[in-house]
């Protein structure tokens, strides 16, 4: 379980997040939703200690994240950032290989290599493995970074808008893969999603942010109501059910 208590973050006097206290259950998929500028990405960064909060703490399984070493943290929690424009020219195989770095440092074992191959297979990268990162499309690059985080084999996996550059096929299969990891490998996944229907049809939990505060949070089935979502986005959202899952209608 990840427990955040009274997290605050501000940039030059302007509050981005104020007094966020949320518990995210382990083993499952939690979606962070909310309108633009609500603070979703910032919260994700605070969870992973990419940024340090002005106040408050993040505790995973009783351990304060601020007190453990960077390497110990990297064995517990992997992050896929939103902006992946890097100047470095590196082969996809090598990039995914660095996912094993927290485990092996400079001496990868046979097991590490098996993990890398496994990750590339899962994310459809085998054919691209010798290509350089700046020679593949945005979606392929995104998948490479997700595969790297997968190879890191951490209990927690944090993703910031991973569907951004992905086509229909790869977006769907990524969500299915994450779902499978949550259901069968006992992973805990936190994901920032823009597409409301992806969020409510795949995730178990939602945390909805609005203007730096938690608007509502809890199990998707209970919280994804027309009223809640309409208020969150300040736009009429009607709820339907498709195949037993909630489905939001807001397109017109």
């Amino acid at each position: 379980m990840m427990k955040m208590s009274e997290l605050s973050y501000s940039v030059s006097g302007t509050d981005i997040l104020r007094d966020i206290s949320v518990e995210i259950p382990a083993r499952g998929m939690t979606a962070l939703i909310g309108p633009n500028g609500a603070g979703k990405s910032t919260l994700l960064h605070l969870m992973s200690r990419q940024m340090e909060p002005m106040s408050g703490q993040v505790v995973i399984d009783g351990q304060d994240l601020a007190t453990i070493t960077a390497q110990a943290r990297a064995l517990k929690l992997a992050v896929v950032a939103q902006h992946l424009n890097i100047a470095s020219r590196i082969r996809i195989r090598d990039l995914v290989g660095f996912g094993r770095w927290p485990h092996a440092r400079n001496r990868p074992t046979a097991e590490d290599r098996a993990w890398v191959t496994d990750a590339m297979t899962h994310f459809d990268l085998i054919a691209l493995q010798d290509r350089f990162l700046d020679e593949v499309s945005g979606g392929q690059r995104q998948r490479a970074f997700i595969a790297m985080a997968y190879a890191q084999d951490t209990e927690w996996l944090l993703l910031d808008e991973p569907l951004n550059n992905l086509d229909l096929h790869h977006a769907r299969s990524l969500m299915a893969r994450l779902r499978d990891m949550a259901d069968h490998q006992g992973k805990s996944i936190v994901i920032v999603l823009h597409d409301l229907n992806y969020a409510i049809s795949w995730a178990d939990h939602v945390v909805a942010l609005r203007a730096g505060r938690v608007a509502f949070e809890g199990p998707v089935q209970a919280m994804a109501t027309g009223e809640n979502l309409s208020n969150l986005y300040q736009t009429p959202v009607a709820m339907d059910h498709v195949d037993g899952r909630p489905f939001a209608r807001y397109h017109r």
Binding site: A74, V79, N85, I90, D94, F132, D134
Partner: protein
């Protein structure tokens, strides 16, 4: 590559004002040992370490278009040298070197602090700011040198050349070579740092320590090279870019090639400089300034996709 380096080095041994043939070496090895050999070694060491410093800086800043000589590091080192020349001219060379390295360190940190304020989606702003920053430090150095009547020194430090290298006056460069070798031990760390702050933190890299190690290496190499032979621009820029284009940025694989290509190109520039206006000499830095700029322009304008 190793073979090419050997051939170049052999040629370098036999090019110069004083005639040198195999038989004359056997008679009198003086020229070889005192002048040619040190000069060749100095060029090799300088080229290798400057190229390595360049690639490290590029990975730390996450930008392809920077090098120590265009981001204020060299100018800062020169300011340090000026200061020590004015206030403590009697210090031993190692002491002067330490001051120059510290100044280079501060200057590089200043540049890094500046780049943190720039929007990441405009990657070309970083080299631009670096050039201006270097220009300001350079103007300060010129002003100080002018007031203290040290303009000639400035000229010597600013243009890298190997004509003054003889045995006993280049050995500091071994330190620079050592620093570059040390950097190789942390090759993986630098590669990860090149993936950006976010990815490095996610992988558990002690980002700030690696940053500090990298900057110290860059500053040390720059200061050592300036003290012994002077600024050699474009090496640290062009060589890593060429190598990266061919074999990528996994430093563990590519660093030996960066060092080798840097060493070879500097030696070649020095040899061209020795031959082109025989018996006078053109500084290797000037020769490479022209070749390097042309190659770099080709790279800038020739690139098709840019993230």
């Amino acid at each position: 590559m190793a073979l090419a380096l050997c051939v170049l080095s052999l040629c370098s041994l036999f090019i110069g004002v004083a005639d040198l043939s195999l038989s004359s070496i056997l008679d009198d090895p003086q020229v070889l040992v005192v002048s040619r050999l040190p000069r060749t070694l100095a060029a090799l060491l300088t080229g290798a370490s400057v190229a390595v410093a360049g690639v490290i800086l590029q990975l730390l800043v996450c930008n392809r278009f920077v090098e120590p000589a265009t981001t204020g590091t060299s100018e800062a080192a020169i300011l340090g040298l000026l200061a020590v020349t004015i206030w403590a001219p009697a210090w031993p060379i190692l002491g002067k070197m330490a001051v120059a390295a510290s100044a280079a360190l501060i200057g590089t940190f200043g540049f890094l602090a500046l780049t943190r304020k720039l929007p990441p989606e405009q990657p070309l702003l970083i080299p631009l700011v670096g050039l201006i920053y270097g220009g300001i430090l350079g103007a300060a150095a010129t002003f100080v040198a002018f007031q203290a009547d040290l303009i000639q020194y400035l000229g010597v430090w600013m243009s890298g050349e190997f004509s003054g290298v003889v045995a006993g006056r280049y050995e500091l460069l071994w330190l620079a070579g050592g620093a570059a070798l040390l950097a190789y031990l942390a090759a993986d760390q630098f590669t990860v740092a090149g993936l950006g702050r976010s990815a490095s933190l996610s992988l558990g890299l002690r980002y700030h320590q690696v940053l500090a190690l990298g900057i110290v290496t860059v500053a040390l190499v720059s200061a050592l090279v300036i003290v012994t032979v002077g600024v050699l621009p474009f090496i640290g820029l062009v060589v890593p870019n060429v190598v990266s284009r061919v074999m990528g940025d996994n430093l563990r694989e590519s660093l030996p090639f960066v060092a080798g290509l840097g060493a070879g190109l500097v030696l070649l520039s020095d040899m061209i400089g020795r031959v082109v206006r025989y018996p006078y000499e053109v500084p290797a830095g000037t020769v490479f300034g022209i070749i390097g700029a042309a190659v770099f322009l080709q790279m800038l304008l020739g690139r098709r996709s840019y993230a």
